[in-house]
Symmetry: C2
Subunit: 320 residues, 2 copies
Amino acid sequence: MERNLKIVGIGGGTGLSTLLEGLKQRTDNLTAVVTVTDDGGSSGRLRKEFNIPPPGDIRNCIVSLSDSDSLISELFQYRFSGKSDLSGHSFGNLYITAMTAITGSFARGILETSRVLAIKGEVLPSTLENVVLGAKMADGKSILGQTKIVDYPGPIKEIFLVPKEPPAGQEVIKALVEADLIIMGPGSLFSSVIPNLLVNGITEAIKKSKAKKVYICNIMTQPGETDGFTVSDHYLAVEKYLGYRINNMIINNGKISEKLIKKHTIKNSFEVLDDSSKLAGRIKIIKADVVSNKEFARHDPAKITDVIFKYCLNIHMRLK
Amino acid sequence: MERNLKIVGIGGGTGLSTLLEGLKQRTDNLTAVVTVTDDGGSSGRLRKEFNIPPPGDIRNCIVSLSDSDSLISELFQYRFSGKSDLSGHSFGNLYITAMTAITGSFARGILETSRVLAIKGEVLPSTLENVVLGAKMADGKSILGQTKIVDYPGPIKEIFLVPKEPPAGQEVIKALVEADLIIMGPGSLFSSVIPNLLVNGITEAIKKSKAKKVYICNIMTQPGETDGFTVSDHYLAVEKYLGYRINNMIINNGKISEKLIKKHTIKNSFEVLDDSSKLAGRIKIIKADVVSNKEFARHDPAKITDVIFKYCLNIHMRLK
């Protein structure tokens, strides 16, 4: 029964794909709704040269949901290097680009790529339009383009899409409305999670859905994007763009190793301060040890999945 | 029983892959031994930038033997275009290149690519060394590099490999020795078929093999390579590099349409003159209508396969 639970994750490449790795162990009905505002690196080059939405975040999610052997996953994440025109391109991005060219649509290109990787669930771009992310920074400056926004120092005040309110895909709306659980985050607040909420129809569908809704707060601040942001700053930003309150928020209270704290500090990234008491009565706060102290202080796929099932779905049994 | 016949085709990308398309309808034991001297286009860029043998001819043969759906075949033959660094690259070439990088070997890269395309039979490079084709032209000039050789006007007198006598793969030797039938050609005489015979161990293996051996003569001359070559010129060039006589040669006697004759004439390509009476007693000459009058005057996969089975293997039944 548990494996039939319909779960939708909303986000971008890194945070969402980590989450999917955990969730796919517990359900066969996963949908990833993925932002398409990236304009840097391999994705940025491809969207410019082939006039398609950026494939990188979608690729990451497809690989996370893949049930195929590790060689094919490795191939999709392989990045060409050396002195070549191909240098910097991710092979999986080229796969999606070529599939899009052949089938004539980005949606079909993603679908066929998903088939080759034998994924559990589905990966959907929040919109099929080639949108650009815009931001008003805390200092009042307006910037267009995700890379430029993240590169600009200091926190973001407000974001928007150009063109404004692009339409959501029908399958996205369907998945949200029919979901048992909708998860927002973790991931870059303004460049991964919230851009999806700016797509026309998505906030309405989340509201309409009888699903439980949970926001997973980031563990660390992101330089140039959420500098100085506390737990309540994160949540209130999401609520602002949603236009209504949600049920649950998960906050990490696991200890981050000294070594990782130092590693993040060098990159101007700090532990998100827990001021969730400010939100008392507004939202159910779930505090748990969900941190992976591996390469970075990020969410651990198994830990976060267990917490979601236990506290948001009231399913206590661990399957492993 | 017929489907167990072990057939080895020796050649390059275009002629050999056409032949394979026909042969795969009649046997499950096909091996393509493919030249690796191409240095132009997408293959040329990849061999230079990634220090691998050229993947293009191998890709063509893999696609010909593929049993997977047409979408995947189409994807592998897709060529990036437009204003992009990727422009001109064949997607299948990039697939083989990435697979080679991940698995650490060109042979393994080809094997894994063959698996993804669910091919019937196997595709093997004649050597795994990164070899360069050299030629002495009829006018005495020596040239290094396949593209430069083909671009240089006038016929080729002699070809060689640098480094000299690179070793053949063990699987190539095994396939040749165990074969029931070995087919050389059709395809570019000096830049596809014969380069394989310069690989150390191959002519000995063909000689040692109890297989019937057949050379399929080209229908048209190739500008810059076999200008003015007759049927006997073609065969004697093959015999020269083999070092011994073979059993059979197939020559087209089907009519080529006036339209195609004109189309070829513009490109300085002419019908190969049949002077096979010169070879009487030296080799069994099989004359048959094997031409496809479609886009170019090339071999028709079904026609040439039927002729091979009927006259070289004495199997008259048409399966279709």
